[in-house]
């Protein structure tokens, strides 16, 4: 669904991403992006959703060059994102924020998203007063509204225990299958990634190291040397 061609993102003289080319996001699948700290994972995500402009290269979405599109345009075209730090509307009730976005994006069945993310009991709670796990679910629910074709999640397990992260990944796989969307996930928890991803891409020092199935990535000597070490 997304084709990245020779993507380079620079902050002044520093290149956060260098000449990356990769295909991402097949419907019904979870595609994870992993790599050590400073590998450029979040910058890569930012470039895809339009938060960072590419210094060079192009990004195609459904075979259309979207490199110059605004964030809003990409969202309306079906590209949704959740954030590393929970990004919701703390002063609004959970219902207010879901309803607002649902009305704007013509979501046909907000109730289904609310039920899927198990939010019905806390709908009229001000989001700031909700538990962190609930806030994470609201964050993902906001991304699911409007029948997106692809959902990009930046470290959805941040702040969650290993067990909660694994559960969240299971949830994502179910969502991807049920709603026939592609999920692209940046995640640090390698075990959860290998257990529940269909495809894995590895970045290192801003460069594309490898893309393949979890088994292929585990067996890739370059990936083992650069990132996994002997732990994998």
């Amino acid at each position: 669904m997304i084709r990245v061609e020779n993507l380079t993102v620079a902050y002044g003289a520093f290149k956060a991403l260098t000449d990356i080319s990769v295909d991402l996001g097949r419907r019904g699948q979870v595609h994870s992006i992993i790599g050590p700290n400073g590998a450029g994972k979040s910058t890569f995500m930012d470039a895809i959703v339009g938060k960072r402009r590419p210094s060079a290269g192009r990004i195609f979405y459904k075979d259309r060059d979207i490199s110059g599109d605004s964030i809003q345009r990409r969202r309306k075209d079906g590209m949704a994102r959740s954030f590393q730090k929970t990004s919701i509307f703390p002063g609004l009730t959970i219902f207010e924020q879901l309803d607002l976005v649902a009305a704007h994006l013509n979501e046909p069945d907000l109730g289904a998203i609310i039920d899927t993310m198990d939010l019905r009991e806390v709908l009229h709670l001000e989001a700031a007063r909700a538990a962190y796990g609930v806030q994470r679910r609201v964050d993902v629910a906001l991304g699911l509204i409007g029948m997106p074709d692809i959902l990009l999640l930046d470290e959805p397990g941040a702040g969650l225990s290993a067990e909660e992260t694994t559960n969240l990944f299971r949830h994502l796989r179910k969502l991807a299958a049920e709603r026939d969307i592609a999920a692209v996930v940046v995640e640090h928890d390698v075990e959860a990634v290998f257990a529940l991803s269909d495809v894995v891409t590895v970045l290192d020092l801003g460069r594309h190291l490898a893309t393949g199935t979890p088994a292929e990535i585990r067996a890739n000597p370059q990936v083992v040397a650069a990132y996994l070490g002997t732990a994998a």
């Binding site: 959703v49 605004s70 964030i71 809003q72 969202r75 309306k76 949704a80 994102r81 954030f83 990004s87 919701i88 509307f89 703390p90 002063g91 609004l92 219902f95 207010e96 924020q97 309803d99 607002l100 976005v101 009305a103 704007h104 994006l105 069945d109 907000l110 109730g111 289904a112 609310i114 039920d115 899927t116 019905r120 709908l123 009229h124 906001l142 509204i145 409007g146 049920e178």
Partner: protein, 331 residues
Amino acid sequence: MTSLPLSRRPASAMHWPVLGGAALAVFLAGFLLPGYLEGGYLQSLLNNGLITGILALCVAFIMHQCGFVLFGIAAYYGLAAYACAILVNSFGFSAMAAAAVALLVTLAAAFLVGAIVIRVKPLAFMMICLSLAELMRHFVALPSLRRTTGGSDGLLFMPEGRVFGIDAMDLLDTGQVWPLIWTATWVMAGLFLIVATSHFGVRLRAIKENEERMRFSGFDTYWPRVFAFAGVGLAAGVAGVIQALATGFASPEMFSIITSTNALLAAITGGVSSVVGPVMGGVIYTWAISEFGALGYSQLFTGIAVILVMLFIPKGILHPLRLLGRKGGRA
């Protein structure tokens, strides 16, 4: 997937018919007030208090919905008053026509200013709005514009015709202008309430809360705030036109920092999160200034009162009452 229907509001908020009935009763009772007050000091105080209340509503709305401290509401209040006075004096407009055109001018000005200042950071927003009001105060006082604006003496005018069925000259009487001020206050408060609770209002608050998330949810985050700013400017213009018609006078002091400060402090005194608070804040603040002034210590006592409010009831004078109401409701 089958989903259960969603309730838009929690059951505890289903009291609108009762609240609406009570509000209607208070609104209708308000028209009887001049009969009891028989003009004079109290009537004048209430009139000024509600005018300040409308300005406080504007400040409170933009603060609560958009997160901006509007320290220059006087610009639109004064502009509308001057536009009305100039249209009557220099172009022979009737009072009603002058008021309508003055409000259109004010709306256009607020829209243009909003389109610029909404983009800047909060501190710059505050300072630009304040500077603009001060700039206009000096502009209308320019000696070279004396024939049109009255210079530093202000502009006297004699409105003609009828305004909503009331003879324009009768509006100069504090008791006769009361129905206009009273109704305008309710209409403004009602409109602000409707907008604040609408999707547009929620959208404004969502932008205030998390602008980046709004953009990632596909929303434009610029124009809604420009429209809100323009609306607030228009509402301040309504207060300015009424004040001008009620006094037959537009003064450079209408643009002054004191006018803006009074509106801001009235909003804070009453609380910015409701529509009743700023109106009550306007009345109480106007009364307090008057009483403190009579004692000869206006600035001193006002300063002390504001500090006490900020320290002990930072959410406004209505907040403790609201908490008591909630406790009573649970008991």
